[in-house]
Subunit: 135 residues, 2 copies
Amino acid sequence: MLEGSETYSGPAASLLVGLDMRHIRLCPAIAFNQIVGGRYKLHILCVLHRGPHRFGEIGRSLLKGGLGKPITPRILSRELKDLEQRGLIERKSYPVVPRKVEYSLAERGRALLPILAEIIRWGATGAHEEILEVA
Amino acid sequence: MLEGSETYSGPAASLLVGLDMRHIRLCPAIAFNQIVGGRYKLHILCVLHRGPHRFGEIGRSLLKGGLGKPITPRILSRELKDLEQRGLIERKSYPVVPRKVEYSLAERGRALLPILAEIIRWGATGAHEEILEVA
DNA sequence: CTGCATCCTTTGGGATACTG
DNA sequence: CAGTATCCCAAAGGATGCAG
């Protein structure tokens, strides 16, 4: 947040010339991290972009392309709840037994897909794996 | 990482059809978070994309569009070192007094600019500020 | 000016067990 | 199946002070 009520003309402003960002006060890059930061959220959106998934399915899907360890139910539950509260995904519960709950991308979540696509394109060269090797 | 030596055909695969990702083992979205995750790294790249900046300048620039609090030297130093080790930025030290050190985007860092641009475009609608209000 | 050292607080994430 | 409850650990980040 800025002191006073200036609008955002900061670091990101010149990246896309001709874009009207006079009403923006917060750097989108920071917001992006706050919204989909952490180990799983972005990956979850990745999974859901292919269609609705159930709780357990998401958990198993996170294993593929992930870092080896399965997400625990507690964390997955927390992440999903957070994404839902922010309106990025939708939760639909079916009154059957055994229980069935489906998660899917909401409009706000779909708005992130172009970013995701750009990340994937970046990863297609293998750049991300080289960079991580440094650690 | 996957068990065995399968290649990555996971969640992200369908986002960009026609892209050869058979050699990729790790979901780029996860790597992206590991590389530029945290409160500052993405914002730092934002700043540097406009040209070389000095240590102190970066610190001050992070204030604009940031979340109010200034970054402490210790953290800034750590972030810069990490970005440099991974080859995303370059450090150039001038032997003058008082000291002068300039940081700039390296090739690997510039490869991230399309992603950044997409994030900014997403932010231009104000979506990120609405979503963050939920908190 | 550009950092490093020390110490401390907060947050994120994992283990395990249990419930409707 | 879809979560919750408890407890715990590790990592991220902040405050303050000092140094080349």
